[in-house]
């Protein structure tokens, strides 16, 4: 398993109504141990996965939004969010959770993990990865 591959997780679904967001995250966490290059893309309703101030307690379901904030510790540092998807939903990057990673090379400076991209840039991202996992 010496080959290095670039994995892209394509997240297009809202959280809680279905389990895909949660179980996608479980793959990301396990996958982080494999030392491949990993990127996450959030588009369409997938952008809702990163909403700030999620509180699922009233529904009886388990909240899992805090896990996104821990992704930096797993060296998952590239969370691409499509700006057209945000705009259609009346959202801006400021409505999303602040997600950061610590850059060891710069005295553990906190850097943002969320990277806004356009549709065209996301199309290029897909074309630049070896494996696309869709959720």
């Amino acid at each position: 398993m010496s080959e290095m591959k670039k994995f892209l997780y394509l997240n297009r679904k809202a959280p809680y109504g279905t389990i895909y967001a949660l179980e996608s995250l479980e793959v990301v966490l396990i996958g982080a141990a494999f030392e491949q290059e990993v990127s996450l893309a959030f588009l369409d309703d997938g952008v809702f996965q990163l909403m700030n101030n999620q509180d699922a307690s009233g529904t009886g379901m388990k909240g899992f939004s805090k896990t996104y904030r821990a992704l930096g510790d797993y060296e998952v540092r590239k969370l691409y969010v499509e700006t057209e998807s945000l705009a259609l939903r009346g959202l801006a990057v400021d409505d999303l959770m602040p997600i950061t990673w610590e850059d060891e090379d710069e005295d553990y400076a906190e850097k943002p993990s969320i990277i806004p991209v356009s549709k065209a840039e996301l199309a290029e991202l897909i074309a630049g990865h070896d494996v696309v996992l869709s959720f």
């Binding site: 679904k13 809202a14 959280p15 809680y16 109504g17 279905t18 369409d44 309703d45 809702f48 909403m51 700030n52 101030n53 999620q54 509180d55 699922a56 307690s57 009233g58 529904t59 379901m61 909240g63 939004s65 259609l88 939903r89 009346g90 959202l91 409505d95």
Partner: protein, 99 residues
């Protein structure tokens, strides 16, 4: 003789809300639940369709909170809890789910 219509899908992903709104009668109520509450986020593309629905539009509070949109519900949408859902179902003559 009124109908309670439930919509549990995001209007950005599916046609359920549109189809529901195309089939409401006057005096009906539309209740957004589960991913359906995403339509109620202010600034979103479906807020005007809800305003023009011509009937009462409600959204389930616990589902709004889960998705982080409870503080930003568009004007004119009534937020209720599960008890309110029960009351709406009891008050209507029938419940129609747009799955």
């Amino acid at each position: 003789m009124s109908t309670l219509h439930t919509v549990n899908k995001s209007p950005y992903e599916r046609n359920a809300l549109k189809s529901c709104l195309d089939h409401v009668s006057s005096g009906d109520t539309v209740l957004l639940i589960e991913d359906g509450v995403l339509a109620a986020r202010k600034g979103g593309a479906f807020v005007s369709a809800l305003r023009d629905a011509g009937c009462l539009v409600c959204a389930l509070g616990p589902d709004l909170s889960a998705r982080g949109v409870a503080a930003d519900v568009a004007e004119g949408i009534h937020v209720i809890d599960y008890g309110g859902f029960v009351d709406l179902a009891a008050a209507a003559k029938r419940v129609c789910a747009w799955l």
